[in-house]
Amino acid sequence: MAASKSSEYTYQDVEKLMTVMTGDEKHSFSATSTLDVIWTLYDSVLNIDPSDPQGPDRDRFLLSKGHGPMAYYAVLAAKGLIDVDELEGWGKFDSKLGYHPDGELIPAVEIGTGSLGHGLGIGVGMVAGLRLRKNSKPRVFCLLGDAELDEGSNHEAIALAGRLGMEELTAIVIDNNSSSHGWPGGIATRFENEGWSSSTIDGRDHEDIKTALTQSRSGKPHVVVAKVEEK
């Protein structure tokens, strides 16, 4: 990300920033499960200018799994996309930061989420829009949870993105084995059957994450299954 070189915050600082936001402990697993992927995205993958977070050539990041956004907010603060001082007020009446993010309140947040199963369909539409604009620069990243894949709407999006060969689209599935009935055969296989390429990686290894998220485009949408400790 453009701000990363000048940022004064490190990964260790982000962990501290997360502790400022208390009160949503029931979602602490959600928050910590996404931390390393979101950090790596904003530190070394996404092309987003903090001074123009809605610029037309920006990469789009959709936090479909809107639960437990403490890691998301902390990384956005560390990268200059929201004010660090905002973190202390999170959840309060006049705060821009709620237990689920609202894109209408934060320019750097693409969409408001919390109800599961919305991000990937919107991402497919954004890719369709970018294609109509003939803008091949941006990539669209959508972060989901393995349990979120239980929502059938995701599978509608997975199917169409595969048929349309949306190489601009990358889905990241944080897999902490929390889906109630699991995914026999593996999550990646579900995507591959619909025409996606896949990587299954250690969701705590920043180099692995970066490599998986920056691999060259293959004419297919790509899914990165990021395994983390079980919930």
Binding site: S115, I122, G125, M126, L130, L160
Partner: protein, 299 residues
């Protein structure tokens, strides 16, 4: 001139794609063949996206396109456009503050032979629960054309409800305004006929001293035209769930003691097939039944 509302829709959509380079159409199979048959797929490559029979995705894709600055038009049969993906509409459009045009066909029960799965008399009630949706209910193909053309302008959220039920002639509709179809004496009771209910209301009230207002936009509700009638007795005749606009009507007359009769589709599982006319009658919305209901209320 188009002969059916669906024909008007196809024509208006072609015009929209021609005149607005940001206009796109998103479908879930229904309607795709009609657009293909008239050549719109070939004429506007990439701008008609068929998601297949995936209604939640249809809404999500349309929202993504809106995020990228496009003006999406979504279309399907009423229950599949609105009821099945309702939360997607609530979140992906209303919550995200995005604009789009939702155009349904099928009305409350255009094809009762298809059974309850293809009926959606609660559609307008559902859409008015979402903030800032403009809702149009044309009663004739020519009115549908006017209202669809209006919907393509701007960047708001619009629902246009099309049906095979139609009045014999169109009226000079203005989006957002009630049309005064018949002026009664001073402060005479007001009958508000919505969309395709007009002809039956006119027949039912032909010998009554009433003011008949014709509504083709129900959200926002044209309070001022109603207030100007001076009426304190009002009958609301809706082609969908009865009482859908009762709250807006009472709000319009909040400072005036008034009586209200709501007529419309009853909230019931009517397990009958048959024809459109059969169901209109079963819900008491034919001219004879309306006459009995209205005269009883006003007597």
């Amino acid at each position: 001139m188009a002969t059916t509302m669906r024909d008007a829709f196809i024509e208006s959509t072609g015009k929209m794609l021609e005149t607005n380079p940001d206009a796109v159409v998103v479908l879930a199979d229904i309607g795709a063949s009609q657009f293909r048959d008239v050549g719109l797929y070939d004429k506007f490559p990439g701008r008609i996206i068929n998601c297949g029979i995936r209604e939640q995705l249809m809404v999500g894709v349309a929202a993504g396109l809106a995020k990228e600055g496009f003006r999406p038009l979504l279309h399907s049969y009423t229950p599949f456009l609105l009821e099945r993906p309702y939360e997607q509409i609530k979140i992906d459009f209303a919550h995200l503050g995005l604009g789009g045009i939702f155009v349904s066909v099928g009305g409350s029960f255009d094809a009762p032979i298809s059974g309850r799965t293809h009926q959606a008399p609660g559609d307008v009630g559902l859409m008015k629960l979402l903030p800032y949706f403009q809702i149009h209910v044309p009663g004739h193909a020519d009115e549908a054309a006017v209202l669809l053309d209006d919907a393509t302008v701007g960047d708001g959220r619009v629902y246009v409800r099309l049906t095979e039920d139609s009045n014999a002639e169109s009226r000079p509709v203005v989006p957002g305004k009630f049309h005064i179809e018949r002026q009664g004496s001073s402060a005479a009771p007001a009958i508000i006929a919505i969309g395709p209910m007009l002809d039956r209301v006119l027949e039912a009230t032909s010998e009554m001293d009433v003011t008949v207002l014709y509504a083709t936009t129900v959200m926002p509700f044209d309070s001022w035209t109603l207030r100007d009638t001076g009426a304190s007795e009002v009958v609301l005749v809706e082609p969908y769930l009865l009482g859908t606009s009762a709250a807006e009507l009472s709000g319009a007359l909040h400072d005036r003691p008034h009586r209200l009769l709501s007529l419309g589709v009853r909230n019931m599982e009517l397990r009958n097939y048959g024809k459109l006319e059969d169901h209109i009658e079963a819900h008491g919305l034919d001219a004879d039944s309306l006459r009995d209901s209205i005269s009883g209320f006003l007597s």
